[in-house]
Subunit: 190 residues, 2 copies
């Protein structure tokens, strides 16, 4: 049983305490809108404008606050606003893209020197699920998604943590390229 | 030797004579900007605004004029402007998406009742190249693209015509999903 649910991550922003307070004011707390599939992670009511040299995008903040701010966008998004978004695992932001973040409600701005990435496609697994599937943390696997645009996506990194819920995460470009819409499962094929 | 160059098709529009004249005036002729890889096809100076219920996009016209207008956009584009874009082979527009086309220079409008599609990924081959690769017109194949986001794209249709130049065409979502940037070759793997 090497099947895993495939979820599409829309563009989103993780904020540091510093960025949050710069954009919303000292002591500000994020407003939870809904829980996400990964335990402890939630979408917030707060949205920001991501500003690049060629354009702007709106994106929601995901909570909770993290040690470093991170803007996760698709490569379509990156091109449309003229920013660099290297393909990185979450948290690996050193030397990644820069942008300006703006709170559209109050006009406050925050310059992000690095933190813009296109998320490397990945699978969240619990230790139990990883063992059942015969894969290990940090392993690179390929996943077949059957659809109107069937594809085998390589370069998928496995991440194993007891706090995870089993799910593969791809971005919107990847979801569109393999028509992974609605309830979709992927199969780890190597 | 089953390798073929992979080219990314940016969003573009083919216009019928009726649409061209409605948008630019009676007797108007397209202005060639540059030849494309497929013999006889060319990018034009003329651009149009594609209008959907949720937004607008700019796209260039490709010449020459065709029997039916066709707007080829990515699924990212389709979602951003709120139109339907079924995955279709070029020319198969019956019951496909609707939009309004606007000439941004003069404000003239043309309602397209059908013709908005996301192009089915495909390979143009000459009869000689097809024979060398052991594939036939209309065959569905899978193509491996090696990159930072390696993928095997299935549901690729082979199209064979003596007037073609050998090339695989994918859209921008697909190019982003498999980092097919610059000079890239795909390999037909089944």
């Amino acid at each position: 049983m090497k099947q895993v649910i495939v979820e599409t991550s829309a563009r989103h922003i993780h904020v540091s305490k510093e960025a949050l307070e710069a954009l919303f004011g000292a002591g500000y707390e994020l407003t939870k809108k809904k829980d996400l599939s990964q335990p402890g992670q939630y979408a917030c009511e707060e949205k920001l404008t991501v500003v690049g040299p060629k354009g702007t995008l709106k994106a929601s903040i995901l909570g909770p606050v993290r040690p470093a701010s991170q803007v996760e966008i698709s490569l379509t998004d990156a091109r449309s606003i003229g920013v660099s978004a290297p393909i990185r695992e979450s948290g690996d932001v050193k030397g990644s893209g820069a942008c300006k973040l703006v709170n559209p409600e109050n006009g406050k701005e925050y310059e992000l020197a690095e933190g813009v990435i296109a998320a490397k496609r990945h699978i969240h697994l619990t230790p139990e699920a990883a063992e059942e599937m015969g894969v290990k943390d940090k392993q690179i696997v390929s996943v077949k998604i059957e659809s109107e645009r069937t594809a085998v996506l390589g370069d998928v990194v496995v991440r194993v943590n007891a706090n995870f819920a089993p799910a593969m995460h791809i971005d919107t470009d990847e979801a569109n390229a393999c028509c992974a819409f609605g309830l979709v499962y992927g199969e780890i094929v190597d």
